[in-house]
Amino acid sequence: MNAPFPFGFPGATAFYLTLYVVTLLIHVAFMNYVLAGATCLVFGLGRGRAGSAGNALAHILQDWLPFCLGLAITAGVAPLLFLQILYQESFYTSNLLLSHRWMAILPVLIVGFYLLYLQKTAWLTARGTTVVLLVRTVAWLCFTFIAWSWTENHLLSLDREGWVAHYASGRWLYYSPELPPRLAVWYFGALPTLALVLGWQTRWIRGESQIDGDETVRLLTGLGLAGLLLTAISGGWYATVLPGDVRGKLLGWLAGPYLGLAVAGLVIQAGGWWLVWRRQSLSRGLLWLLTAGWLCGLVGGTVVRECRRLVALDLSPLEKLHAEAAQVGGLVAFLVFVAINAGLITYSVILVRRLPADSGDAT
């Protein structure tokens, strides 16, 4: 714990920790888009006059949310794999303790997924505003339930002393003082991601000159800045509920540099959105600045999240198992196929990227 993540751990453990965090980052990016997108469709976007900036953004969201949810699920498989190698008992135990409640996320996810597709259809639009809002609300509730369940499951996995009592009680719910602020950090942290990606998407679809000075700039700036502010407040709240020794460790060498990176990311993004606001422009340069800030915040925040777990759990009994896992064959084949399939994925995107952008509605 006296070296920055993941350098203080034995080689195999550090290797899997790194793989876990890197793959989790990809999942989080898509998950943020879905969670924040579903939220914005309920609480703001898409209820204005026809042709308004809000409606245009809502249309982009409706078009892309199912695809991004598919990517979020796909991207979530890899960290789930490395998570099991790294933590095993704690992850499995919390899954089992929450059992029925935990497994409920699967049908809920299916319902949410189909409701996203439903939102793309002309059939739903023809049903009127109330029905549209109802569908959006149920989809949002589905993703909120999943976010809450993941947070709850994660926190229970850290509470080793509470496992036996939880099992004896037969409770389907688990509460920890960390739950509300932790959920809030993840929830509000998703908003700046959405603002940034929507910025890139709008620029791609409409072209830069069509955006500048538009209401879209105002909406995205508001979304980005509000998300950053609420994330910072939630982060402060989270810090206050953490046990003193945990907070101290997170400020130490293990997580301290990443906490600094996360804060720097928030500041860069806030500065970026302020410039967007002042210039009333979503120029490529500003979007890249925001992207850099977002990456810093994402990497820093995700590593700090992992360090909270590392502070709570003693990994030393598992280090031997990590070393054994690292000895099994297949890594070279994995690297070869990663390269090949990443190339093919890139080529697939290039194939369709040649097409002129459209508002597209394939359903």
Binding site: F67, G70, L71, I73, T74, A75, G76, V77, L80, L81, Q84, I85, Q88, E89, Y92, T93, N95, L96, L97, S99, H100, W102, M103, L106, L109, I110, F113, Y114, Y117, W163, V164, Y167, A168, G170, L321, E324, A325, V328, G329, G330, L331, A333, F334, F337, V338, I340, N341, A342, L344, I345, Y347, S348, V349, L351, V352, L355, D358, G360, A362, T363
Partner: protein, 477 residues
């Protein structure tokens, strides 16, 4: 292997845990078959439609792909994740071992899964606006990726039944390319093409604005994907031939349930194959929506039967010769007979305050650890019914010599006192859980159980086979 850890065992009520994961697996496998076969079928349709030669094939493939996305990309993907979560609910030690040993295979499968999702969505979203070459490229990527997903997962699943040389050297490639790898992979590939062909026959009947002649044309194209089914009997025989001998014996009659499910799979497949050959390929008959749906339902039943047999043939293991269904390793049984299986379990028995004595609580723990993965008390495969007519001594003998009671049961992994606790718990439960129940602590009874345990040994196949005189002695007590 991952060390023996006591996990909190969830109670699924009347649903047997094996039933939960089995049911989900059948559903997921069927969706996966549909997705994989569809990739191949769509490539063929695209080939036929290239250059505007067959506008119908292009129109149908675009519509088909929308259904594929809505069904497979949602339900298929989520049930895939559900398989992992349900596996944890059933046996965390099994899934943990599989992940530890094969995580790179799974990670490779993930890269193909990612390609499948991205190329599939690109086709879904932009396919109608792409030229023929780009369409074909995306479909080939999708098709290759989905088939390779099967390739990698098949290696891990077939390893569970025939780990073979992996058991001695733990070489991951030896385990992956195990004895049942190729017959299983080829058989599954054919089921994929057949499922997609039948799905196409259903869909073409429900698509709007398709004339009777156009339907006939699509059905004839799709029906060609049923032709490989003629190889199924040979591949099935190959698969059964490479099974461990005792598993083969159960499938071929030793277990009536497995034989029935095998018959179901073979019967449904034969019916579908026969219909395809006689009606579609030879006489070029039309197939309407109702018939196509019935055939697809039969394909689902064939998949269900086949998956049941595949899962059941592994008994009493989840990983053949390596880990029993109850998550206890063969080499841990002897130790657990010394120290007991309940002494280290930290999790209490829910509602223990209503139990009349401590022995029954111990019995409930034994049931939870050793029996509950394949049995319930009163629901599916219920212990109370299975042992309904057994006397106390029969229970003692049958539990102590579990591997002799049924050849697909693991040996009992606990002390004589724990056998007796399980007997008392089950008997108390059968008696509708009265408020008073005396503890059983007769030293002679415990000694007899100890003798029976020693007789059967901690392994599955005691030298010389079962000693029938023991049962006679027990029955005469």
């Amino acid at each position: 292997m991952n060390p023996l850890i006591f996990y909190p065992v969830p109670d699924l009520g009347p649903v047997m845990k094996g039933l939960a994961i089995g049911g989900l697996a059948i559903f997921h496998v069927f969706l996966a078959q549909f997705a994989i076969g569809s990739g191949m079928l769509l490539c063929d349709l695209q080939r036929r439609s290239a250059g505007g030669r067959n506008p119908l094939a292009r129109r149908f493939s675009d519509g088909y792909f929308k259904v594929l996305v809505l069904v497979s990309f949602v339900l298929g993907a989520v049930t895939g994740v559900a398989m992992w979560f349900t596996s944890i609910q059933v046996s965390p030690r099994t899934i943990g071992t599989m992940v530890s040993e094969f995580h790179w295979m799974w990670a490779i499968e993930w890269t193909f899964f990612s390609l499948e999702v991205v190329s599939g969505y690109m086709f879904y979203r932009y396919g109608p606006r792409l030229d023929d070459r780009a369409r074909m490229t995306l479909l080939v990527f999708y098709s290759i990726a989905s088939w390779f997903s099967l390739f990698w997962i098949n290696g891990i699943l077939s390893w569970q039944l025939t780990p073979g040389g992996w058991l001695t050297g733990h070489n991951v490639w030896t385990g992956f390319f195990n004895a049942s790898f190729w017959p299983s992979l080829l058989f599954r590939t054919i089921t994929c093409t057949a499922t997609a062909a039948l799905a196409a026959c259903v869909l073409v009947n429900v698509f709007p604005s398709v004339s009777r002649e156009e339907r006939t044309e699509i059905i004839q194209i799709a029906a060609r994907f049923l032709a490989p089914m003629v190889l199924m009997p040979f591949l099935g025989a190959w698969y059964i031939a490479v099974m461990p001998a005792d598993s083969r014996g159960w499938v071929l009659g030793g277990s009536i349930a497995m034989l029935l499910f095998l018959t179901l799979a073979v019967g449904c497949s034969t019916f579908i194959g026969g219909y395809a050959v006689l009606a579609l390929l030879r006489q070029k008959l039309y197939i309407n929506g109702a018939t196509a749906t019935l055939l697809l339902a039969l394909a689902f039943l064939a998949t269900a039967g086949g998956e049941f047999v595949r899962e059941g043939a592994r008994k009493p293991f989840t990983i053949r010769e390596y880990l029993y269904s109850n998550s206890i390793a063969p080499d841990e049984v002897a130790h657990l007979r010394e120290v007991g299986c309940t002494s280290l379990d930290p999790y209490p028995v829910p509602g223990a305050e209503t139990f009349p004595n401590l022995q029954l609580i111990t019995g409930a723990k034994v049931y939870r650890i050793q029996c509950s993965v394949c049995h319930t008390l009163d629901g599916a495969n219920p212990l109370s019914e299975l042992a309904q007519m057994w006397s106390l001594d029969q229970k003692r003998l049958n539990f102590a010599q579990l591997q002799r009671t049924k050849p697909f049961m693991p040996p009992f992994a606990g002390t004589p006192a724990e056998v007796e606790a399980l007997v008392q718990f089950l008997t108390w439960h059968q008696a509708h859980r009265p408020a008073e129940w005396p503890e059983s602590s007769d030293p002679e009874v415990l000694q007899q159980i100890a003798d029976w345990l020693r007789e059967a040994g901690p392994g599955r196949e005691p030298p010389g086979g079962p000693d029938l005189t023991v049962a006679v002695k027990g029955a005469s007590r």
